[in-house]
């Protein structure tokens, strides 16, 4: 039970519920879970090219010759890659920052390893840098910094749009999001 508590959102109660379920009703599932976790803990590393989590030296996106290497999408975390892969038809490649620039926390370009991204841009294949960092102050600062890196190299950079969530109602949306959506309006 203690072991399950390391999962986010799992308190003592749900930990004991999960543990009893696995041990009493689903021994096979418990063993499969144990093997999968062991394999993941031992085998998962960071892709050499994009730094996403991967079991091989190159992740499946970087290893796929059909992906367009001229489109490079920069995200903060591996979870962001997964979200974009599942929700969009994006056919380019990624670079995972594993964080964001946060000067007030002491995280600058070198702490974030941005030299790796610069090296990637210097290879000359990238034509468009898509900045998909979060719409937070740190995410915006990071996007600005990356846009400058791209500009120096004559590479076009684009920022993903932020606005009203699909199915959302304007009156319930926070002011910042609404202001952003309003200033980002476009011709229809």
């Amino acid at each position: 039970m203690e072991a399950l508590r390391c999962l986010p959102g799992v308190g003592p109660k749900s930990a004991s519920r999960m543990a009893f379920h696995l041990v009493e009703r689903d021994r096979v599932g418990a063993e499969r879970l144990a093997h999968a976790l062991l394999a993941a803990a031992e085998g998962v590393r960071h892709c050499r090219r994009c730094r996403n989590l991967s079991e091989a030296e190159l992740c499946s996106v970087c290893a796929d010759p059909a992906r367009d290497a001229s489109l490079l999408c920069v995200v903060e975390t591996p979870a962001d890659v997964l979200a974009i892969e599942q929700a969009t038809g994006f056919r380019g490649q990624y670079f995972v920052l594993m964080g964001r620039l946060s000067p007030l926390d002491g995280i600058g370009p070198s702490e974030l390893g941005l030299d790796r991204l610069e090296a990637r841009l210097d290879e000359g294949q990238v034509r468009e840098l898509i900045l998909a960092t979060n719409p937070t102050v740190e995410g915006e600062a990071t996007a600005h910094y990356l846009a400058m890196l791209a500009r120096e190299r004559g590479i076009r950079s684009t920022r993903i749009a932020h606005g009203v969530p699909m199915g959302g109602e304007l009156e319930y949306i926070d002011g910042g999001t609404l202001a952003h959506a309003f200033s980002g309006r476009r011709e229809v």
Binding site: M98, I107, G108, T136, E140, A141, H144, E152, I173, H180
Partner: protein, 251 residues
């Protein structure tokens, strides 16, 4: 202690535990306060957007000491959409406040100066001018007011004269002293008026203010300044951010 609907800005927010944020806020009547905002990082939390820097808010909290608990937040106006260099300028001001202003020290005048800075950054005032005026006002609020109308001997500053500005004393005619920051009389007067129209005045003001702030920083590094320098230096081979201090970490 209970504080209700206090005008404030969040200076910095950092993730804390699974769903909470640790906030450093700057408030009108209570100065800098540390707050924990519980349960605001959920996917559907509307509060989170209000707890970003540069969003004027009304904050309510309970408790005191090092860390009080946020009990409410309302928008007090539209968020300032600072972008690019203006955003970095705003973050620099936040870092100055976090580094130089002690917690729980009411600074209502400084709060007004900070508000004015945010407005200036959002309105398109030249960034350098907005930041220099804020630095001047910050020094004033911290008890290190610059003398920008009179020379050290009490005589009115002459625009056409060269001076050397000596900390804690003021401007001396340049011919009379060796120490201090060399600066034109016109630049001191311009900084006093908050109008740094020409490049020479801006350069003088920057050097003067930098020297005074450096004394207060006492060797502490400003990470936003290093980031700005890395940007200016083309971010390439620039040593500004290469030495990693203790406590720096990746997330």
């Amino acid at each position: 202690m209970r504080v209700e609907l206090e005008a404030a800005y969040v200076l910095h927010a950092r993730a804390y535990r699974e769903t909470s944020l640790l906030l450093e806020a700057f408030s009108l009547q209570h100065g800098r306060v540390g707050l924990v905002a519980r349960g605001v990082r959920g996917a559907r939390s509307r509060t989170r957007a209000l707890l970003q820097p540069f969003q004027p808010v009304l904050l309510s909290w309970r408790g005191g000491g090092e860390l009080a608990t946020l009990s409410g937040v309302e928008a007090a106006g539209p968020a300032l959409a600072l972008q690019g260099e203006r955003l970095l300028g705003g973050l620099y001001a936040n870092e100055l406040l976090l580094t130089l202003v002690a917690r729980d020290d009411a600074q209502p005048a400084l709060f007004a100066h900070y508000q004015a800075l945010c407005a200036a950054l959002a309105a398109g005032t030249p960034i350098e001018v907005a930041l220099r005026v804020f630095e001047r006002d910050l020094l004033d609020a911290l008890g290190y007011r610059l003398l920008l109308a009179q020379a050290a001997d009490g005589s009115p500053l002459q625009a056409a004269l060269r001076y050397r500005y000596v900390a804690d004393e003021g401007a001396h005619p340049a011919s009379g002293v060796d120490d201090g920051v060399p600066v034109a009389g016109a630049s001191l007067l311009a900084l006093g008026r908050g109008e740094l129209a020409d490049a020479a005045a801006r350069a003088d003001a920057k050097r003067l203010l930098r020297a005074q702030l450096e004394r207060l920083l006492n060797g502490r590094r400003l990470r936003t300044r290093e980031l700005a320098r890395a940007l200016l230096g083309g971010a390439r081979g620039e040593p500004a951010t290469s030495s990693i201090p203790e406590g720096a970490h990746r997330r």
